[in-house]
């Protein structure tokens, strides 16, 4: 016989109170400021993976290029790369403990998988590019720089929402049920 307790144990647990989760995230950011002297970052790790792939294809080209070149021959030897790896492990532990790991393409029920994946790919390319241009992403600029009250970071934050809201209507179909 299936009891209500069993259902609770097999289904994913609900997400945390968003405000308290935010406070937790804020305290992690504060710890990063106090210990490392730098905020959180995710796109830096991604870009350095890109630089290391670029090194595999052509080391002289990469080292001679203006942007990746300054990261040297070992672009992965950088604190943000380690933070990136740590974030994956931390999220995995959280998702496993809350029974939220699902191999799936998240999308609207009426939307084909291919559309969602094409959007994700294009969005990724744009975000990867824009993070380099702005020297950070939602973590490094908007959140960390915002908490430091840096003008440029808050400009980035405002523009991020402006760009998002302006585009939302055009890409809404991926979520149609």
């Amino acid at each position: 016989m299936i009891t209500e307790t069993d259902i609770l144990h097999t289904g994913p647990k609900p997400y945390a109170n968003p405000y308290l989760a935010g406070v937790l995230l804020g305290l992690v950011l504060l710890a990063s400021f106090v210990i490392l002297g730098a905020g959180l970052g995710a796109s830096g790790g991604i870009a350095r993976i890109g630089a290391s792939l670029s090194m595999c294809v052509s080391a002289p080209h990469t080292l001679g290029s203006e942007y990746f070149g300054k990261w040297g021959a070992n672009p992965l030897n950088y604190y943000l790369v380690f933070m990136f790896i740590g974030a994956f492990v931390g999220a995995l532990l959280s998702a496993l403990s809350a029974n939220r790991v699902r191999i799936q393409v998240e999308r609207g029920a009426a939307s084909p998988v291919s559309r969602r994946l094409w959007y994700a790919l294009a969005g990724g390319v744009i975000v990867g590019f824009a993070s380099r241009l702005a020297q950070g992403c939602t973590s490094g600029q908007a959140l960390s720089g915002g908490a430091l009250l840096l003008t440029g970071s808050l400009v980035f934050l405002v523009c991020l929402f402006a760009g998002g809201f302006a585009t939302a209507w055009f890409v809404r179909r991926q979520w149609h049920d």
Binding site: N17, P18, Y19, L20, G22, V23, L24, L25, L30, A31, I35, L36, A38, G39, I46, S54, P60, E66, Y67, K70, G72, A73, N74, N77, L80, F82, M83, G86, A87, F88, A91, S94, R100, E106, R107, L117, L121, G123, G124, I126, G128, A130, L133, A134, C137, T138, S139, Q141, A142, S144, A147, L150, G152, S153, L154, L160, F161, T167, A168, W175
Partner: protein, 677 residues
């Protein structure tokens, strides 16, 4: 006071990498807890169906902002211990807009996609692959968009300065905006989905109130903290005061600093504290407060100019008349930060250095401990030249970089030669006793049409002979405020196979700052015959060697010029830009320049960590160059002698020659519009 790894310049150390891994772990955990492992949830913010992004992000931002402000307000840490990103309006506005477009399309951002990947989302994996591609695309297109990358660069800019508010008021306003955003988000969710469990809930009320209260609390905290640490160093005395206010200051004795306070500040190693002894040099040499500078009254204003209204200047003499007159004169000249030592040197001796047992009145235990600590610090035998000549021998395994203490303890030892590389007027005024003056440019000349080349062995040996140097000598090279001067002199010694030389860290500026002995006498020199070694130089290469390794796997060419010359934005040579494949690490990144112009090498660990990022392995073939070989000699010294890389070579002719030889390839993609001339 907390020192961060960034503040210590150790962000590249393995400790920092490990701590970043742990912080990353907590970061990922918090993101997943918040529900940011779901793209649908993230996208919801743009359709007002799920406002979690706003709630989590602003809760986190406000928490960290308030937390950091309290840390700073309580005096536990300074904001300069945190890496502050520059504001670049063009790049951040365009980048933000593009990012928003990508965010709503992909429904992930870099951090949340990592959480999504951990939760098994295939769309997160695809997004991350796209983001890696986007980063590579950025690198490939960098030359085209470089002007946008730096468009509107303001340097570090705080928002409250930009909008003209005080920090505390801005924080309060920002907190109120965030709280309003929380309530609006709940309200929007209720309208769109009919469900908003937190709208008007006791939790949200209490949470909102707590944030606002903490923001208001900063007003109570900050002025108190400022008062506690401001006296007297930062007391803002008016820069130009009239005689009346001067007299008021005198009347209230605000121009004094008590001996006990000075002693504590000196022992604590407080930065920006300049103690000046205005007595005659003979009295100074007999005894002075540790760390004091000896400056004649007539030169006070000139010597102290760099410290005007920066930190704290304390004058002392035997009594108080001369310092008082000098202090008032300096104040009239615009110095708002000059104090005199109450009761002068005599008072300092009586109140701080007199042994507890000799005091007429008994001391409390606490004060007795303080006095003993002061005595241990200030009354210890002064380390001056000639002391312990035989006791501190020159050892065979001499450090490559020596400190002032090292030299002071050995000064006068037979076989120790000190070479002062500062300009002649500075040398003439005062130098380390017995040091030889040398103009570094006398080691260079035009060779085969290329200017500023290190002279051949025969010419260097002739100069060494005139300086009276011998093969058995230990040479200490002392500069003013440029460590690349002794490094270049070191190239001359290395060319003649004389490796028994060291660079004095901090140069003469540090020696003088520490109040160590100096005089203006010229040393007695007996001409020697320095042997000409022709084959000792195996480290200087010409353009053919450099051209031959272009694109060779594993070899690293390091261009140590400032970044603008490397990129070609600035140029004073035949062509602008850099050698293809060369990487840029400016020589200035290897040193620390203190506020009073004392230049020292960064800690070896820091340098080693930094170069590990640039150089693949210990045995990598490395060529360093700059424009004329001067700056590159410093990087050569760091790599070869401090860090022990075995295969470092020096392209002396440098960019001067490379740029002028039009057949050699260069890289310069600076758009014509911003090319320097």
């Amino acid at each position: 006071m907390i020192n961060t790894l960034y503040g210590l310049d150790l962000l590249g150390s393995s400790r920092a990498l490990f701590l970043a891994l742990l912080i990353g772990f907590a970061f990922g955990f918090a993101l997943e807890r918040a529900g940011f492992s779901s793209s649908r949830r993230l996208a919801g913010v743009f359709y007002f169906t799920d406002m979690a992004v706003v709630k989590v992000m602003f809760s986190a931002l406000i928490t960290a902002m308030l937390g950091l402000s309290y840390m700073v307000g309580l005096g536990w840490m300074r904001l300069d211990q945190v890496f502050l990103m520059p504001t670049i309006y063009g790049a951040q506005a365009v980048g933000g807009l593009l990012f928003g477009v990508g965010f709503v399309m992909g429904a992930w951002c870099p951090g949340t996609a990592v959480a999504g990947l951990a939760a098994g989302r295939i769309d997160a994996l695809v997004f991350l692959l796209g983001a890696i591609g986007g980063s590579i695309l950025f690198n490939e297109l960098f030359l085209v968009i470089r002007s946008l990358y730096t468009a509107g660069d303001q340097g570090v800019q705080m928002i409250y300065t930009t909008v003209g508010m005080s920090r505390n008021w801005f924080i309060l306003a920002f907190t109120l905006v965030a709280v309003a955003a929380f309530w609006l988000s709940e309200w929007a969710e209720k309208l769109r989905t009919g469900c908003a469990p937190y709208l008007g809930s006791p939790f949200l009320r209490a949470f909102s109130l707590a944030l606002v209260t903490l923001a208001v609390g900063l007003f109570v905290l900050t002025p108190a903290a400022t008062r506690a640490s401001a006296k007297p160093a930062d007391t803002a005395l008016a820069t130009a005061v009239d005689e009346k206010s001067l007299m008021e200051i005198v009347e209230k004795a605000q121009d004094h600093i008590e001996p006990e306070e000075l002693a504590d500040r000196l022992m604590a190693g407080k930065p920006n504290l300049v103690v000046v002894d205005v007595r005659p040099a003979a009295e100074f040499n007999a005894f002075h407060i540790r760390g004091a500078l000896n400056v004649p009254l007539a030169q006070l204003a000139e010597v102290l100019q760099p410290y005007m209204n920066k930190g704290l200047i304390v004058l002392y003499s035997n009594g108080m008349t001369h310092p008082a007159q000098a202090r008032d004169s300096l104040q009239r000249q615009g110095f708002g930060n000059v104090y005199m030592l109450t009761d002068g040197l005599q008072g300092f001796r009586d109140r701080c250095l007199k042994p507890v047992s000799l005091r007429p009145e008994p001391l409390t235990t606490v004060n007795a401990v303080r006095v003993n600590a002061w005595r241990a610090f200030f009354a210890a035998p002064a380390v001056t030249g000639k002391v312990g000549l035989a006791a501190v021998p020159l050892n065979a395994a001499m450090p490559r970089v020596v400190e002032t203490d090292w030299l002071a303890a050995r000064l006068g030892t037979p076989g120790l030669k000190v070479i002062d590389l500062r300009p002649q007027p500075e040398y003439n005024a005062a130098h380390i006793p017995g040091s030889l003056s040398l103009n570094i440019e006398s080691f260079r000349g035009n060779i085969g049409g290329v200017p500023s080349m290190l002279l051949p062995p025969v010419m260097l040996a002739a100069q060494f002979s005139l300086l009276g140097l011998r093969q058995s000598d230990t040479v200490v090279l002392v500069s003013g405020d440029k460590l690349h001067d002794p490094a270049l002199a070191g190239m001359a010694f290395a060319r003649l196979g004389h490796m028994d030389y060291a660079v004095m860290n901090g140069g003469y500026a540090k020696w003088a700052e520490e109040g160590r002995g100096a005089n203006a006498a010229l040393p007695a020199v007996t001409e020697s015959t320095f042997p000409v070694k022709k084959n000792a130089d195996d480290f200087t290469v010409d353009f053919r060697t450099v051209a031959a390794i272009l694109g060779a796997p594993g070899a690293v060419i390091i261009d140590v010029r400032p970044a603008d010359f490397y990129t070609g934005k600035k140029s004073d040579e035949a062509r602008a830009g850099h050698i293809p494949g060369a990487i840029n690490r400016a020589f200035t990144e290897d040193v620390i320049t203190s506020s009073n112009k004392v230049v020292t090498f960064k800690p070896t660990d820091t340098l080693a960590a930094a170069y590990r990022q640039v150089i693949p392995s210990t045995n990598t073939e490395i060529i360093v160059h700059c424009r004329t070989g001067h700056q590159a000699s410093q990087t050569f010294f760091v790599l070869k002698r401090l860090l022990g890389y075995p295969n470092v070579r020096w392209y002396d002719a440098g960019w001067t020659e490379w740029a002028a030889r039009s057949e050699l390839p260069i890289v310069n993609e600076t758009p014509d519009s911003i090319k320097g001339k």
